[in-house]
Point group: C2
Chain length 202, copies 2
């Protein structure tokens, strides 16, 4: 049996998902990465949070901003603390769901993360997402229209519900052979998880 | 300048602190580890939590229990999910504060963690902490009395306040040259942090 695929569950508002999105393909070294956008908002709301925990809990937030600065320095990733946080990732998540079978999906995801966390651009805006699509030589108007179709909206809701039922409570999360790993730090562990279905290490 | 010391901030109720406590000295490879017990309860209470976030947020809790099982398997540490969680770490934290200058402090800390997370014993009980002290050939009655002195109680309160003012919001946390790292996963990063005071990598 070959190495199992890695499900990458991400939210465009999530700072730690930015780092994971930029690095997962090189870390996965040829393993299949399944890009699974979802929304954290409904999952947070279900536990009574109406804002990011990094805003609700200031010490946790202060730590996260410093940690991201260190992480991006180590990973040699551009980083600019966004002037608005969190920014809604709803529109780009819908585009990503619409583009689930497109080869350019990972490039789109990375470009949106760069817009939010390296360029401080408003990823909730159709103008910004349109310009990201155009930068990839895609027809922005077509994809923005598809993103707003009832079918895509419903698929994103279903993905978020799937995340919740799998026990996902934060982003980035990784699922390998049914095992859940939370946080960018755990990607290496996720990649080592065996394909066998009994959930034990080989 | 030699390698800077590593402050290890831990809470006896904390599952991830257990793994860190068992492994920090071998990972630190001769670096000075400063063992700094504190209480998370007052820090959590200040942000409105009256219980462990792992109890307040069930998905996070379910993940943590599975994650600990995996981590302990990987680290070859004994693990038994405690029948009560969280157990108050107040009494052993006071003993640890009283024993701040004793060579046996790390052994005591590890023995208390084993009692809680490998043996499912009630570490809030003077009988249990007494038997842990005796297992280290210490005079249990003496140390339990010292632990309950006004001076030690005040020192533990001050340590917890120091933790809070340094931005600590969870355990384990590590501080190297003034830089804060949260979570057992970040110990390796903490150990790589340079001694220089400007907070930049060499």
């Amino acid at each position: 049996m070959g190495a199992p695929s890695v499900e990458f569950w991400f939210e465009f508002a999530s700072t730690y998902s930015y780092v994971a999105a930029m690095r997962i393909e090189e870390q996965a070294r040829g393993r299949t990465v399944v890009w699974r956008p979802f929304l954290l908002g409904p999952i947070f709301a279900a536990q009574g949070w109406r804002d990011s925990p990094f805003n609700l809990f200031p010490a946790k937030g202060a730590y996260m901003w410093r940690d991201l600065e260190r992480l991006c320095e180590r990973e040699e990733l551009e980083w600019r603390r966004p002037s608005v946080f969190p920014r809604s990732g709803l529109l780009p998540a819908r585009v990503a769901v619409a583009a689930a079978n497109e080869a350019w999906l990972p490039r789109f995801v990375r470009a949106v993360y760069r817009a939010n966390f390296a360029e401080d651009r408003d990823i909730s805006s159709a103008d910004v997402i349109g310009s990201v699509l155009e930068s990839l030589d895609l027809r922005a108007a077509d994809w923005l229209a598809r993103a707003q179709s009832a079918d895509v909206k419903e698929r994103l809701r279903a993905e978020t519900e799937t995340a919740r039922t799998r026990g996902i409570f934060g982003a980035p999360s990784f699922v390998v052979s049914g095992e859940l790993f939370w946080g960018g730090d755990r990607l290496a562990d996720a990649l080592e998880w065996p394909a066998s279905s009994d959930g034990r290490r080989a």
